[in-house]
Symmetry: C2
Subunit: 340 residues, 2 copies
């Protein structure tokens, strides 16, 4: 859809119908479970089980910057953070709807790149973009809604089922997205200066276009996971949410959460080695999957043990410990700037 004219085509040039045609034309053929895809009042899905559904919004300037991320990367991120929520219930992702609110001078090519990223990440998850909406707005606001299915007879894995004695385990890593963001914020986006090039590029990619371990969600459900959440706002914050919902204390093992070499290299390059541990414990947007399993259950290959669930003492609130001690300081990201 690249314009041949000197000036790039903008949304106001092609209008609503032109934009929709341009975007929908980029999607790969629909999978068999999509009975009706984009273009009608609604999409129709053949869902052989219970329906799992979640929505999440990205706002320009808050969740992405167009000078830091390519349009396709924003598409991957939009799809990933929605599909990860469905995976975190133990479901198989099936479909994504996307609403784009955008200024009229947005280049059509940008919307096309967004569609490419949405489609690519949906395919990686086994899903497809099945519909959406476009509106004019002063600021770019992209809302995704993911739909998934629970295998017949399998209950959803909520945040609330963890029991004392459970093993706490993680699929995927925490920290790379925050490290990539820190490099961008420090102006190290280009060469990721001071960090080995390959490591820098991987951390930037982890921030711009996270790739959640979707199949780990249903593997966890099949293995009997008692509770699960994805790490969208930071491991400690999301672990706290799970602990509160379950009424337990989660004691995490600092050694198991020791930052990997890439995080330590990035922290060193930014002049503060302590950042590596902070990113691993409190960095958001990695969409790793944190789950609890009954003791004695074999963990799925995608999970590694990072702690255990303990009974909540009568005089203590549910929450998270690191090596048996309360964590001091922020546990992660909250919207609207409040850190209670």
């Amino acid at each position: 859809m690249a314009s041949m004219a000197g000036d790039a085509e903008r949304l106001s040039d092609v209008g609503e119908d032109g934009l929709i045609a341009a975007v929908v034309g980029r999607y790969a053929p629909l999978p068999a479970h999509v009975l009706i895809g984009p273009g009608d009042d609604a999409a129709v899905l053949d869902v052989p089980g219970r329906v799992v559904i979640s929505t999440d919004t990205l706002v320009e300037g808050h969740d992405f910057r167009r000078d830091w991320s390519a349009a396709a990367e924003v598409g991957v991120k939009t799809a990933a953070q929605n599909l990860a929520d469905v995976a975190a219930m133990g479901a198989r992702p099936l479909a994504l709807l996307v609403s784009l609110a955008a200024p009229a001078d947005l280049p059509v090519d940008w919307a096309g790149g967004l569609a490419d990223g949405l489609d690519e990440e949906c395919r990686r998850a086994g899903a497809a973009v099945v519909g959406g909406d476009v509106s004019e707005a002063a600021q770019l606001v992209i809302t995704g809604t993911a739909v998934g299915v629970l295998p017949a007879g399998t209950p959803a894995v909520t945040r609330a089922g963890a029991r004392p004695g459970d093993v706490v385990a993680l699929a995927g890593r925490t920290g790379p997205s925050a490290a990539g963001l820190a490099l961008l914020q420090a102006g190290r986006g280009g060469a990721a200066g001071g960090v080995p090039a390959e490591i820098g590029a991987a951390l930037l990619a982890a921030h711009r276009a996270p790739r959640p371990p979707y199949p780990a969600g249903r593997d966890a459900a099949a293995a009997g996971a008692t509770a699960m959440i994805d790490t969208s706002d930071g491991l400690l914050r999301d672990a706290t949410r799970l602990a509160e919902a379950s009424g337990v204390v989660l004691d995490l093992d600092a050694d198991a959460l020791a930052p990997d070499d890439d995080l330590r290299a990035a922290a060193a390059a930014l002049g503060d080695p302590d950042l590596a541990r902070l990113w691993a414990l409190t960095g958001g947007e990695d969409h790793a999957l944190l789950a609890c399993f009954p003791p004695g259950v074999g963990l799925p290959a995608s999970f590694r043990r990072i702690g255990r669930a303990m009974p909540k003492p009568a005089d203590v609130r549910p929450g998270v410990l690191v090596d048996g001690r309360p964590w001091r300081g922020s546990t992660g990201w909250l919207h609207f700037g409040r850190r209670p």
Copy 2:
């Protein structure tokens, strides 16, 4: 949730978790088909059939104004325009997800009023709010996603199935929302000056908080409707979409679409009697249901005949006629300001 302090509480005062708790606390108990509602990574629905899903966004300044509509009215409108899309496929609405992107200084009471309206209209449709998301943004952007179910064995009613000879029928009215908007734009919002008070109030309400005829959608499907769409962008524009998707010409009967007394009273008050007919034919956001039925089928009680489908002559594009003649001028609303 009204604040007792002199200044109203704002989102930045209560933070993300406080806002979610305040909003979710206002919803009525969840119906039985919602297995898991707000508060986890995703909602889980028991959907006994094929899943119908659609998304739509309202942007402040484009789709509503806070000085023209109460928060609850914006909630009703958000729910209505999403649930109507699901009804227009012949499905029964089940659930709504809502993403709120809002400035940090938005009063918490406004978000609470929005939730009240969302919940109220969902209940009217037989659905429930099952989840959502909150984000900080410069402008208020509200995205809804509606989920519905098709009865087992019933195919979805798309826009594409109309055949020559079909009866064209309408459930609900077109024009009241546009008339209400025109009164507001003319500064007649308060007393709706010049219009009898009851009529003015009803037209303003139709614009601020449309009430689509949801059950008419499944009644149409059960009666064998061949094609259906809701009138979100104007009767002629949406009829044209249906005609194009079906490859037919729809000939609408001007007498059957003659504006009712309330529209004529409002048009007279604004000094231009011709407006009444324009509102009825091209006014958007009423979310009436336009459907085609095979000839000889008894129309459901909620529908009245407004025209018929004809074969498309070889040298003519699919489209809409009024009393056998092409319509001159705009057929309704398009985003991004382009009128092709």
